[in-house]
Amino acid sequence: MSENKIKKILLIDDDKIFIEMYEMAFALRKDYQLISAKSSREGKKMAKEEKPDLILLDLVFPKEEGLIKKGGGIVRLDTHAGYKILKYLKGNEETKNIPIVVLTNLADKHEDEKKAREMGAADYIVKAKFVPREVIEKIDKMFK
């Protein structure tokens, strides 16, 4: 891979503040361009259209018809929404070769991580354990 090419990273996550945090972190790296998608539908669409070099995927998304409490309270969450996206991306001709790194707060190694890796995730990172800078370092290593 050419060292000078700007690598496109697609972040699929429902959390606006989380996306902003990563946008800030990637803003300091001129060799990466971060694009983001806030829903599973948007994520699938962008993956096909933009053809990123890497996808960062969350696993937990709000339930489509769920209740959302203001102020960041308890939301109706679908803890398996991300797996559906992962399966789709790995099955789709246009996106199956893009490496996918799961970036989530589900921390069960035996269930969540195992399932994600079995479904084709290249890596599994727990958000609360690594700051954006460290995640970017991991991405650097992956591209080497």
Binding site: D15, F18, E20, M21, M24, V60, K69, I74, A128, V131
Partner: protein, 370 residues
């Protein structure tokens, strides 16, 4: 057709009751009897057979007697007649017995079928109850796991945010950002912290509403002994004493949910150890009217004038000295302990002579009233 005989053999058995019996049809009216067991009307065919056949035979023999000459002919007729009657009687009786036996058997079979059906129904009912319970248990377990999964996720998410953002200050990268960007980062850091606070509040609310208290008589001194055993190693390690004063007379039991009271008291004794550097903690119990009073006195860092109430009031209140001493305490322990004690219709308060002069927590809990 004697009615009295009908009563004795009053049974309805198809084998012996032929509705198409030519005798019955030809006679065109048949004696009806009521079965004393099943109330079915039936026609006494065998009677007709017996009665009619006897008549026919008698007629035949009378006719025959005209052909037999001599005295012996009358004797023969009488003998045959007697035989016919006797035979008929015994035939009747034996069929009667068979019919009765069959009926009894059929009745027994019917009863058995009924019992079996009932038993089967009962068993099915029990099995479906058990299946329902197992399903509920599984559902509850799944719900619990889902809940835990979501709770841990919800607590980690805001932490990831403000921890991730604070990293910028840690590495010094914050200076690489423009002023607007720095403001945005600061705003988001605070938003993350707020979100965590709100999440915890919501969860506590949900938990408090959902706390099921089952009150039973509980022996407070044995609970304190258990807690003391668990915490003693921590006390010993710091060189602190932990004394639980025994009263001379046995104290009455309190009205409590053992699990929750234990949590509350454990929290208090754990706190006492954390905020005490030298000396130790003394616990004494006494009966006061309808309550038991528990005093937990430590020789630790004490409270300032206004802190006695504040430490219970808000969920996250931690004095700066407390934060210095125990940097990662959540500030929830005393709040929860107070909730628990108040749910037990008790009271808790904290008093201190001042900084470094130790603190005494006084808890009052009602005695178990039968």
């Amino acid at each position: 057709m004697k009615k009295s005989k009908n009563k004795k053999t009053a049974i309805g058995e198809e084998k012996y009751l032929n509705k198409n019996c030519w005798l019955v049809q030809s006679l065109n009216h048949a004696p009806y009897s009521r079965c004393q067991h099943c109330e079915l009307k039936f026609r006494n065919c065998q009677f007709l057979h017996y009665q009619v056949i006897s008549l026919i035979l008698a007629t035949l023999f009378i006719a025959l007697s005209f052909f037999i000459k001599g005295k012996s002919s009358e004797l023969v007729i009488i003998a045959v007649f007697t035989l016919v009657i006797v035979y008929g009687y015994f035939f009747n009786k034996s069929t009667d017995k068979i019919i009765r036996a069959n009926f009894t058997q059929r009745q027994a079979n019917e009863k058995l079928e009924e019992l079996t059906a009932n038993l089967q129904q009962e068993v099915d009912k029990q099995v479906s109850e058990i299946k329902k319970l197992l399903k509920t248990k599984k559902e509850l377990l799944d719900m619990k796991l889902d809940f835990l999964q979501i709770v841990s996720h919800q607590l980690r998410t805001p932490v990831a945010i403000f921890y991730g953002l604070l990293d910028n200050w840690k590495t010094g990268e914050i200076k690489d950002y423009s002023k607007e960007e720095q403001e945005k980062i600061m705003k988001n850091t605070i938003a993350g912290a707020n979100r965590l606070k709100n999440t915890i509040n919501d969860m506590l609310d949900a938990l408090e509403r959902g706390m099921e208290f089952e009150f039973k008589p509980v022996d407070i001194s044995s609970i304190l002994d258990e807690i003391s055993e668990m915490l003693k190693p921590n006390y010993d390690q710091k060189g602190l004493y932990l004394e639980i004063e025994k009263t001379k007379e046995k104290l009455p039991k309190i009205q409590a949910s053992e699990r929750f009271i234990k949590d509350a008291l454990m929290n208090l004794l754990d706190n006492a150890e954390k905020y005490t550097d030298k000396g130790g903690v003394k616990v004494n119990l006494e009966k006061e009217k309808n309550n038991i009073m528990i005093k937990i006195a430590d020789t630790g860092m004490g409270l300032m004038k206004d802190e006695g109430e504040k430490i219970f009031q808000t969920q996250f209140f931690r004095s700066s000295r407390a934060i210095d001493r125990v940097p990662d305490g959540s500030g929830l322990g005393l709040y929860i302990a107070k909730q628990i004690i108040e749910k037990h219709n008790g009271k808790i308060e904290a008093k201190s002579q001042g900084l470094h002069k130790g603190t005494t927590f006084t808890i009052v809990l009602p005695i178990w009233q039968k």
